[in-house]
Symmetry: C2
Subunit: 116 residues, 2 copies
DNA sequence: GGGATCGTCAACCGTTCGGTTGAATATGCC
DNA sequence: GGCATATTCAACCGAACGGTTGACGATCCC
């Protein structure tokens, strides 16, 4: 739900967003601090954070007037499982991968008749 | 180069393309056969294949008049390493991940002054 | 209350994306 | 040669993306 592959991969496809994730790997950060290293408006960063948030890759909690951003690495779990099914880079839970493919196929089929 | 994270993740962000990859997991396929299960024009599938090809996720070899599509799972390697650095889902080569982050950061910086 | 700070909203802009259709280019086969 | 098959090209379309700017709403603090 929160972390479907479409939104997760789309979120990861932007280098700014990947860099934000890498920054959050170190520690939680306020939006303004996230924006600081980028030569980009705060609004732009805010939008990137929305994308990451919708993909489930981060969570945001407002404390006072500052909104703290926190990495949510679990959202990468399904995506990672999906990818690992393709390469045999390391030992993989092939079972999980196959279940995942099935789930996605079903999701794809239901989507067709279910554009809300 | 061929498999930078931008293009790989962008390619994976589309469910049609992920399904194509899953199909190619079974066997190499001709373009027409790839297109068959999708309710979509051949031209659309052809474009998807270009995207996958540019991302390095598949290779295409023309034999006669039919062009065979082959999965190239190695292209997922870097992306997989990148992702695994975030979650501690399984035992990971953290070293590889850190080197990767650095490489990406450098690439990001050079891109700025280098829009050809 | 009032000014500064934090963050988002809304409108806009140019580009890319995912799809279509119709024409064009190979190639295979009789 | 000539027709069928396989695939791409080119032009077009609407929607989504990534960014900007300026106004706005909260919150902190004096």
């Amino acid at each position: 739900m929160t972390s479907d592959l479409d939104s997760v991969f789309a979120a990861l496809a932007d280098p700014t967003r990947r860099q934000i994730l890498a920054m959050l790997l170190e520690d939680d950060m306020a939006v303004t601090d996230v924006a600081e290293p980028f030569g980009m408006s705060l609004a732009a960063i805010s939008k990137h954070l929305v994308v990451l948030s919708r993909a489930g890759l981060i969570s945001q909690e407002k404390r006072g007037r500052v909104k703290w951003c926190k990495l949510e690495p679990d959202a990468l779990r399904d995506a990672s499982i999906w990818m690992q099914g393709f390469g045999q880079f390391e030992a993989i839970n092939l079972d999980a991968f196959e279940r995942f493919l099935e789930r996605e196929e079903i999701a794809g089929r239901t989507e067709v008749g279910d554009q809300s």
